[in-house]
């Protein structure tokens, strides 16, 4: 089963998204950017990242920048999953190399379809 890393500071959102994806993907979770980077070593190969934008310690855009600096994650698809509707954040994410932008709340089956399209 392909692996997806989900990074969001809300446990409720992580529960909902995990339940939507768990039948088709193995889901690895972290509650902020720092913990996500820490978990990467022992997680094996990640097929797609799902990142929230507004998080404590390290926000999603900073994490995206860090991932794109690493050779093994340079081309791995990254979907920003966020409440953020301000255009400047979306533009910044696109500039940093995000693959897509998903605004919360989202319907779980639509999110799953989008992920399948990108990650297979």
């Amino acid at each position: 089963m392909k692996k997806i890393m989900l990074v969001d500071d809300s446990a409720t959102i992580r529960n909902i998204i995990r339940n939507a994806l768990t039948a088709e993907y193995e889901v690895v979770e972290a509650e902020d950017g720092v913990k996500a980077l820490g978990a990467l070593g022992g997680s094996g190969s990640i097929a797609l990242f799902l990142l929230d934008v507004n998080m404590p310690e390290m926000d999603g855009l900073t994490l995206l920048g860090e991932l794109r600096k690493r050779a093994e994650y340079k081309t791995v698809p990254v979907l920003m999953l966020t409440t953020e509707t301000k255009e400047e954040f979306r533009a910044k994410a696109k500039e940093l190399g995000a693959s897509g932008w998903v605004v919360k709340p989202c319907e779980p089956d639509k999110l799953l379809m989008t992920i399948k399209r990108i990650a297979g």
């Binding site: 959102i13 909902i16 693959s99 932008w101 989008t114």
Partner: protein, 431 residues
Amino acid sequence: MRERNKAAVCAAVTAYVSAAVLLTAAGGKMSAANAVYAVFAAAVQAAVMFALLRGGEKTAERGPETGGTEEKTGACEESGRTAEGSARSDESGAAAEEEKKYGSTVRALAVRTEYMRAVTEELCKAIAQSLSSTTEPISEELLKIRRTGEAFLSGMKEYEEDIRKKTTVRRLEEESGKFERDLKMLSDTAGEIFTTIDSRMGKLRTVSEKIGETAGSISEISEQIRLLSFNASIEAARAGKAGAGFRVIAGEIKKLSADTEARLGEIRETLKETQTIFTDIGKGLEENRKRMLEVVAGREEGFRSFGTELEAYFPRLEQLYTGITGMIGSLSKSMDVISPVVQLHEITGQEIGNLGQVTDDYCRYVAERVKDMAAEKAVKAEKEEREEVTEEIRKHLTTESELKALERGIKKVSPEAQVELGMNTCGIELF
């Protein structure tokens, strides 16, 4: 001074009224939106009151400013009239001085507060609306889940005792145990039959070999007889008086005939043996057949009762299965309904946090302005003030609902204002 005291008194009265409104809301006579706004309004007014009173204390500490020494007049009345006129001109001078020092701050605060009040009112309304729109569907779905669970349990109540004591399961276990033992017996019996047949087949093989050998001898003999007949016919052709050769031949034929008789005797004996073997096999098979029939007959009653138990149990199993799959289906449906609503509920919590940051910023702004009260900062034009407050609030907001509330709030104060929200409303976008 009088202006400042008036403002402080007004702020205090407003704070008191807001607290009273909040208590009324607690008694359930007010909507959630107005209650949230009332709390915020009380906090803002208290912040303003505090800032203004602190400004008053600082003025009191500094004391009145004095110029050079004044000459006193001689007569009391004249001095009194002069003193009174002098006091009045002192008062209006001081007022003008204070107006000059503090007016710009108060005006700036007034403009900022006006925008803040309108925007936070809209934000609170949006939050309250989100809360009520999410709480109701979640409660409804939870009720549905509870009703489904209760219906399932009441359906199962009939079998509760049976399930608890596992009566049927134990009976089925017993019957299936017996069934297993009988099957073993049948299979052992069949095994014995095959062993018996196998050993008999060995004997049959030996017998058929003997028959084969004998048949071989007989064909040798018949070949010899043929040759002899041939020779006899030759001799007969040459005979006449010399019949001696014929006699020899006849003697040989007799011997051969005796041999043949002996071989046939052997074959007869062998066939008898074969018959005995087949009879034995037949007897053995018959015995085992009877045994198996006895076992099966004995199990018939057991099978019938097993079948009856299963027949009674299957509808229950079916009902249990249908109940469970129905409940799982209903739960899945409820989760599908709840999921986006729960996300929205979670997002509303985030919006409340954002509102807290907005009011935090505002209180900091008030405190800084009051600190710099005497610095006589120039009052910004309203457009500039509006743009500044819009951007400061906007940086804390994230969702479409919040940004639209900001727009509504700004336009309430300045209907002609053009508010740049810089909002992206695309739900899912792939780059």
